[in-house]
């Protein structure tokens, strides 16, 4: 593999790489604002300037400049090398690049940084970006000097509403045009552009339009400063109080890798952030996914219920055990859920096996809109996983409805909250011995005789299998809310009461069990729970 030298460090690169890309892959950070690995190169922030050493035997490319000479109190002509933006310069074999070791580059960066801060408002105390702001980081790393300009800074519009999700502050903007490129290249909707010039230029929305495509929050995500803020996260939390858990988006079957940002002090989740994953989502997430975290706190089942009345866990468990005893194994049905992780489903499967239950069904959230960028129509994170676990034996929800109508189902133990087609909910009314492990209010929780509060994906570690059969782990962020517990814990309790033996005791064993089956074994013919 060819390689070049960056600050006396050998950096291998693939043909076609730019310097900054190769360096980033090798874990060396060349400071940059406008460059983003997932976007085209703009090379307009000039922060990544590096000095290229001339090849042996060739003269360096030098510029004539005037330098101030203190001694003679006059300007004297000088030569300084022409610096190149590392984000645009293609890497070549044997090339020698100086980044932090070249005093010219260092001075250039310091100057760029100072210019960027020239008209920047003193907003850090009220800015949502503060704490994860490139301007702050790079000031410390590359400038670390005091303000020299004494004039009043230029004032520009603040709090411009770009659309339902994004608010723009022109004073903080450094014109890196990342948001412009995200709209144009990722969302294929070039609704943003730049107007005016010099000090005065700012980002605007195309006339008569709003910033309302499906990936608006990515513009905020790529914004290296506090210019674009999401109206959802705005003024909600200070980022240095937040902690991040590596999670997987459960908004749809794509399963984008994400970070769940939560505040450990009040156990509240504030936002998702995309996590780089070349196999699935590259660097991006859709708006629906980014805002999907809200479901973790909304419409949750937080206490055990019998016929809709809140009761203590012990009572509910007792009652559930009684109900399950009511019918013979032949008439006992198990309803898996594509909303839940492999662990939960595996636990319920084992429970059903121990019961000897013969009927196996699966449900999930209804179909939604998909697109050819990231979103998929199947809004369940784990359809493939459930089908794989059940070895394709699990039948869709419509069959359950039919079975109920025929009176084949005496007991139903259901996991999950939603069903593919809301109109089928009626069928569940007739069930008397109906135990549900639900995270959210919904048709299942409403009609179940006993509801045990299951904790959501953010409150327990779990494995999800996305539409391509890729198995991804999602880590626990916050503690289980209310009286909820992970579904497999409930199953464990139930099994204890019913004196059934499950093939696992610890979570690790459960996980290894659910790992056992190969995701790709899922029968492709099986429809997603939301129906075709």
């Amino acid at each position: 593999m060819p390689s070049f030298k960056l600050d006396d460090k050998d950096i291998p690169f693939e043909p076609g790489d730019t310097i900054i890309r190769a360096a980033q892959r090798a874990g060396v950070d060349v400071p940059h604002y406008c460059w983003h690995p997932g976007l085209s190169v703009a090379a307009n922030c000039r922060m990544c300037l590096v000095e290229l050493m001339p090849p042996p035997g060739r003269p360096a490319m030098l510029l004539d400049v005037l330098a101030w000479d203190d001694l003679h109190q006059t300007y004297v002509p000088q030569k300084k090398p022409k610096l190149q933006p590392a984000c645009q310069q293609a890497a070549a074999d044997g090339m020698v690049v100086k980044s932090q070791t070249s005093e010219h580059a260092v001075r250039a960066r310091s100057a760029v940084q100072e210019l960027l801060l020239l008209n920047h408002p003193v907003d850090c105390p009220i800015c949502d970006q503060a704490g994860e702001c490139r301007l702050q980081d790079y000031w410390l790393e590359h400038q670390a000097s005091k303000k020299r300009m004494k004039d009043e800074p230029i004032h520009k519009p603040k709090g411009v509403v770009f659309g339902p999700t994004i608010v723009y502050d022109a004073e903080r903007c450094i014109m890196c045009t990342r948001c412009v490129r995200v709209s144009a290249e990722l969302a294929k909707d070039p609704v943003l552009s730049m107007r005016e010039r010099g000090n005065l230029n700012e980002i605007t929305v195309a006339p008569g339009r709003q910033l309302d495509h499906g990936y608006t929050l990515m513009t905020e995500y790529v914004c290296p400063v506090g210019a674009l803020t999401s109206s959802d996260f705005r003024f909600k939390a200070r980022v240095w109080f937040l902690r991040s858990a590596r999670s997987t988006c459960v908004g749809c079957a794509t399963g984008c890798s994400s970070y769940t940002d939560f505040d450990p002090r009040n156990q509240k989740i504030y936002r998702y952030r995309p996590r780089e994953n070349a196999a699935v989502n590259k660097y991006w997430m859709c708006d629906d996914g980014m805002l999907d975290y809200q479901r973790i706190h909304e419409g949750r089942v937080l206490e055990a219920r019998i016929q809709g009345e809140g009761v203590s866990d012990a009572v509910a468990l007792e009652k559930a055990a009684d109900l399950i005893k009511q019918a013979s194994p032949q008439k006992t049905a198990i309803l898996l859920s594509a909303e839940h992780s492999n662990e939960d489903n595996q636990a319920l499967l084992d429970f059903g096996k121990a019961l000897g239950a013969l009927q196996l069904y699966y449900s999930g959230r209804p179909q939604g809109q998909g697109d050819d960028i990231l979103k998929s129509a199947d809004k369940n994170p784990n359809t493939a996983g459930v089908l794989a676990l059940s070895g394709g034996r699990a039948k869709p929800f419509t069959d359950l409805v039919a079975a109920v109508k025929e009176g084949k189902v005496g007991v139903l133990v259901a996991l999950g909250s939603a069903i593919g087609n809301p109109n089928d909910a009626g069928a569940l009314k007739d069930l008397k011995n109906f135990v549900a492990l639900s995270t959210h209010d919904g048709p299942i929780a409403d009609h179940a005789a006993v509801v045990l509060p299951a904790s959501s994906w953010a409150e327990a570690d779990g494995t999800f299998v996305n539409r391509t059969g890729l198995r991804q782990e999602s880590d626990r962020a916050i503690n289980p809310q209310g009286a909820s517990r992970p579904a497999f814990r409930w199953v464990q309790e139930l099994a204890k009461l019913l004196t059934l033996t499950l093939p696992w005791k610890k979570v690790s064993e459960l996980r290894s069990l659910s790992q056992g089956v190969d995701a790709s074994a899922s029968s492709p013919s099986a429809p997603p729970p939301g129906g075709e």
Binding site: H120, L140, K147, W240
Partner: protein, 404 residues
Amino acid sequence: MEPLDQELESSELELPTEPMLLNVGPAHPAMHGTVRIVMELSGEIIERCDVQVGYLHRGFEKMCERGNWSQVFPYVDRCNYVSPMLNNVGFALACEKLLGITVPERCQWYRMILGELARMSDHLTCDGAMAMELGAFTPFLWMIKGREMVWEIMEEETGARLTHSFGRVGGMAAPPTDGFKEHTRAVVKHILTIIDEVERLLLGNRIFLDRLENVGVISAADAVSLGWTGPCLRATGIPYDVRKAHPYLKYGEVDFDVPVGTTSDSFDRFMVRLAEMRQSARIIEQCLERMADKGPVNVDDPRVVLPPKEEVYNSIEGTIQHFKIIMEGLKLPAGEVYSYTEGGNGELGFYLVSDGSGTPHRVRIRPPCFLITAGLERVITGQMMADVVPSFGSLNMIGGECDR
């Protein structure tokens, strides 16, 4: 006399005594409220004893792992709360060692002066309390009077009488006040006279001497093996003083003596502390001579030192600097360091482990008191019950530092 008596053996006349369990503390006035000693007495002799500490365990080290580096200062203040400034300086030095920076000269002199003043207040308190516990109330009052003077200086400099979180990584919170030098000179002079008076009052006092001399003796070998440092170790004749052995700040450039004892009994520990106060006075004099009146006290490094407030409020650069240091915390490079200074009771070590983030991964304080208190058992076993109080007092056990 009854004939019966004559027939008895002398042994039968003795009263049978089985060992008695006696529990002293923790709510005992002489136990500083935080130590419990369970003794097994035969008569008045202590046969066995078990010293139990931990009645002031406040989770210092756990709390340090929650904030950022500069938020540790208030906690170290309350570790050895008789000489907080020494802890402040010690911790600041540890962080600076990890950062690889040294503070300006003026700050070093300043730190030394404040530190030695703190040492004085420490020894004044210890000796005064010792005398009081032996019933001599007057010296206590005099010495507390002297301590008040020291605290006045501290208050004027730092704004707090006792727990002044005044140290900063890379300097001090504020430069010396204008009247600092003459104020200090006057106070030191006064304290020296107090020491002389106390000496004249106590050293001619039969009771005082009898209670202390040849009481609570410990051999030098034991003391070393127990990890004793500071006045208690020097009282055994071993001249180990971090300021001399491994000079930090400017201690290499001032001249002072290391007073040592001979018999390593409670009396020696008392006298070593008195002598050390005189040495501290000497050091302070020299420091005052050499400390510049003008000049920076903080290192000139925006990564470490906070900007002046008017810059924070008026320029984005200042605001950013403030944010980086306050919100993300001082970034100490990943690594570990063991830095040691001479605290009030001996070698005050800080073992810091940093993972490069703004939050300490581990802050371990090496408490001289803890090890000295560990030796208490060895000191008082075989002694008379009544000698526990002076022996314990002479060790100058500080609950906050011992239990953390």
